[in-house]
């Protein structure tokens, strides 16, 4: 029957086949291959950098890309300690003064030599009122900045300011670089290993080597940062071999699948990103430390880390991770103990009714990405009689609510904590929005005294002692329930050799990796 039909319709079938073949040829099908320029690596990122100018960028994506383009006077090492970068030598002649002796021969990507005048210009343009830079608030402790000669920069603070080296982390642009405003499309140049040669927001940023910066043989000549918002697509691009590197933006569920590809390496290293549960202290029920401790005991963090996070985190004892020089792990901890949680709630006079619930109902605000974790908290708190209502909002609405203090409970994370001075921004009672990030309106005079002392004590040993007390007090008082430190999970093509992961998730070692196999890196620069 079929053969008869085919024989009767041979001419038509041939025509259909010819049309299909033409369409396929037209569509450029066949075995599709991604063409890659030799020496180029592709890094997938989830969002566009908000600014290509280091004087304005405050988000993590911009900072990580800008770190490859711009040099700063100091950088942090893996322990969060500041070390000289553009500064060859750093002196601290008095508690309010720091002297930076600059390296000679550092050049911007246009060949100009970087001098103290460029440093002064960069800081002046951040501080200029018309710039409206978000970074101005971060360096407001700076009283003056001077350049006695071409290779010396002197920073003076109004008061003894312990984390003063933090002021020296701004990326330096050449003197005369205009402010990013209307009509200025080109990104500023820097003296770092790369220069930005193309940027289309929401699409990609293309970096190429700074010709005046030495780089090792076989290292990538250019990096394409491609903006891929969908996490599934980022995973597929890695699996297809289009993307070479993706850092901390792959969903945990797909890591085993990606790891099953022989050409991919899933690297997991300890990270400093701190995930916490925050309370609103304007709610009198949450001002009761017994309620906060009960919530801490009711959350089974080990189970969450081992199941949902697939082991890609460490249970946290506080904001500072063990990699930080000021870390103190000798603090009160709250391992999962629902019985103890119920006892604490009983003591706080929230007794269980016949249905086991205690009349404690809180609203947990989160984003769509955080809803799953919210549901886990909801189930765990229900076991001890606390009802959690989850309200899922788009990020901008959520963020506005959190800043306005319109939440009972929420969970956020701190990224890139280096100096323990961060405690001041989040726990000092004077640092409520818009003056700081104490969004829960936590207030404790003892904490205020400690964080203020930590800020003005210059001696490192004395500071460490102070921040040890801060960590102990925070663990006792629980303005935050410490959840976990998120591991840095990088998925990379095995052709990238020598990637050295930094605890803060920095991309800086992309400048020094080498490429193996066909299409490898470039020749070393002279």
């Amino acid at each position: 029957m079929l053969t008869v039909w085919i024989s009767e319709n041979t001419a038509r079938l041939r025509l259909v086949a010819q049309i299909a073949a033409a369409l396929v040829a037209l569509a450029g099908c066949g075995r599709y291959r991604t063409d890659r320029s030799p020496g180029t690596i592709q890094v997938d990122i989830e969002t566009s950098p908000t600014s290509t100018d280091p004087r304005f960028a405050t988000d993590a994506t911009s900072s990580r890309i800008n770190e490859l383009i711009f040099d700063s006077l100091v950088k942090t090492d893996r322990n969060g300690q500041f070390v000289g970068h553009l500064a060859d030598r750093i002196e601290r002649p008095s508690p309010t003064e720091i002297v930076f002796h600059l390296k000679h021969g550092v050049r911007f990507s246009d060949g100009r030599e970087l001098t103290a005048a460029d440093v002064i210009f960069t800081y002046d343009s951040i501080l200029a009122p018309e710039s409206m830079s978000a970074k101005r608030a971060g360096i407001e402790e700076l009283k003056s900045i001077d350049a006695p000669d071409d290779y010396t920069v002197v920073m003076t603070t109004a008061h003894p300011y312990a984390p003063a080296l933090e002021l020296a982390t701004e990326g330096i642009v050449p003197a005369g670089t205009p402010l990013p405003s209307k009509g200025i499309a080109a990104a500023p140049i820097g003296s770092g290993p790369f220069q930005m040669v193309g940027y289309a927001r929401d699409e990609a940023a293309q970096l190429e080597r700074n010709p005046y910066c030495i780089y090792p043989s076989g290292a990538p000549r250019s990096i394409l940062f491609k903006i891929v918002p969908d996490p599934t697509v980022r995973a597929l691009e890695l699996a297809e071999g289009v993307c070479d590197f993706s850092g901390n933006n792959i969903e945990y569920d797909v890591l085993p699948w990606l790891g099953s590809h022989q050409f991919l390496e899933v690297s997991k290293t300890p990270g400093t990103t701190y995930k916490y549960l925050s309370f609103n202290f304007r709610d009198p029920r949450l001002r009761d430390v017994r309620v906060r401790r009960a919530i801490a005991y009711a959350i089974d963090r080990n189970t969450i880390v081992n199941t949902i996070l697939r082991g890609t985190a460490r249970i946290a004892t506080g904001m500072l991770s063990p990699e930080n020089w000021a870390y103190d792990g000798n603090v009160t901890t709250y391992s999962y103990d629902p019985k103890k949680a119920r006892q604490l709630l009983d003591q706080a006079r929230y007794t269980a009714g016949s249905n086991g619930m205690r009349g404690l109902r809180f609203e947990y605000k989160t984003t769509p990405e955080g809803a799953r974790l919210g549901e886990v908290f909801q189930a765990m708190l229900q076991r001890v009689g606390i009802e959690l209502t989850i309200r899922t909002l788009d990020f901008a609405t959520y963020y506005a609510d959190i800043q306005a203090g319109s939440f009972d409970l929420t969970s956020l994370q701190w990224v890139g904590i280096n100096d323990p001075n961060s405690y001041c921004m989040v726990f000092d009672s004077k640092k409520t929005p818009p003056h700081g990030q104490n969004r829960g309106y936590y207030s404790n005079p003892a904490m205020d005294r400690l964080v203020e002392a930590g800020m003005s004590t210059v001696d490192p040993e004395a500071r460490k002692e102070i921040y040890g007390q801060v960590q102990q007090l925070a663990a006792e008082e629980l303005p935050y329930v410490s959840l976990w430190w998120v591991d840095n999970v990088a998925v990379m093509n095995r052709r990238l050799v020598g990637f050295d992961a930094y605890p803060n998730g920095s991309f800086r070692s992309l400048a020094t990796v080498t490429l193996s196999g066909p299409g490898g890196g470039g020749e070393p620069s002279q």
Partner: protein, 306 residues
């Protein structure tokens, strides 16, 4: 017909005004601050106040609305808060990509729907009908956010026929277009099937058959053209669904169109961009529907547009 076209174009004015007003109200009423999104939480309060003043966001809402309408009246959509570029320029840069995707999606829909609808409508209850309608149910049910990655896995990862993401040659267009067009294809196929079944029972079809025409010839010469009228109407009405489908598809395939711009602008509370994008979608929708009405008159000579 010219009068009709002019009248429909004039009707765009109240539609645009309504859309502009609604969009303005909604985006300004939802919480979220574009200045904080741009400057960051750590910005000095004085900077936030200064930037808000610079952008005119500290003015009363009605004043901002009047300024927005005043700009619209002279074709000025304002300036993007986060991109620092004129909104019209941003839209002009990205609109071709969205139109390309929507048009390709429509083509895919028509190419899939017509054979499936004809197969199903020619022999209702037969194997072809069951197969075609099975496809239609799957096509309508499967969301873009699922279909897109599925197609990527099959055609990019496993078969390596097509690229995963981005806009480039025609090969980049195939998967996004199929993703956008599949649901519409399913709807059109079902519509065409229903129309053909109805047409097959009409008097003129019986007359054609009684004159000695074969069933296939009667269907092609007389039935199909009559069945198409309702399908053409649906194509126009579904343009809105097609455009909204491009929002998700552009995000999945990293397609640099207006949909991606709009989603990014909503996140950043970039009011002028959100307003401009929504207005562009609305005007496109109205124009496509007007074009559909004109095509309708061509397909069905009984219809006279006046």
């Amino acid at each position: 017909m010219i009068n009709y076209g002019v009248r429909r174009l004039l009707a765009l004015v109240p539609v645009a005004l309504g859309v502009a007003t609604l969009t303005f109200a909604i985006i300004h009423l939802v919480p979220g601050d574009p200045v904080v999104a741009m400057l960051g939480e750590t910005a000095a309060p004085a900077n936030i106040v200064g930037m808000r003043h610079q952008l005119g966001l500290d003015r009363p809402l009605l004043e901002q609305y009047a300024a927005y309408l005043g700009g619209l009246a002279v074709g000025d959509l304002g300036e993007s808060i986060s991109y620092r570029k004129p909104v019209s320029r941003l839209i002009a840069e990205r609109f071709p990509a969205t139109i390309e995707l929507a048009a390709a999606g429509m083509l895919v829909a028509v190419f899939l729907a017509f054979p499936l609808g004809i197969i199903a409508g020619s022999n209702p209850g037969g194997a072809g009908d069951l197969g075609a309608m099975g496809f239609a149910i799957v096509g309508i049910s499967i969301p873009h956010i699922y279909l897109g990655p599925l197609l990527m896995i099959l055609f990019s990862l496993d078969l390596r026929w097509l690229p995963l993401t981005g806009r480039g040659g025609l090969e980049h267009l195939v998967l996004p277009a199929v993703t956008v067009g599949t649901a519409l294809a399913a709807i059109l196929a079902r519509m065409l099937r229903q129309s053909l079944i109805r047409v097959r029972e009409s008097d003129y079809m019986r007359t054609a058959l009684s004159k000695g025409l074969s069933a296939r010839a009667a269907l092609v010469r007389h039935g199909l053209k009559n069945a198409l009228t309702s399908v053409v109407t649906i194509i126009g009405l579904q343009m809105g669904a097609l455009l909204s489908g491009t929002l998700i598809t552009e995000m999945i395939f990293s397609w640099p169109g207006i949909g991606r711009l709009l989603i990014s602008a909503i996140g950043a509370r970039d009011y002028p961009v959100v307003e401009g994008c929504v207005l562009t979608f609305a005007i496109t929708y109205v124009i496509v529907n007007m074009a559909t009405d004109l095509v309708y008159a061509i397909v069905d000579p009984r219809v006279r547009i006046s």
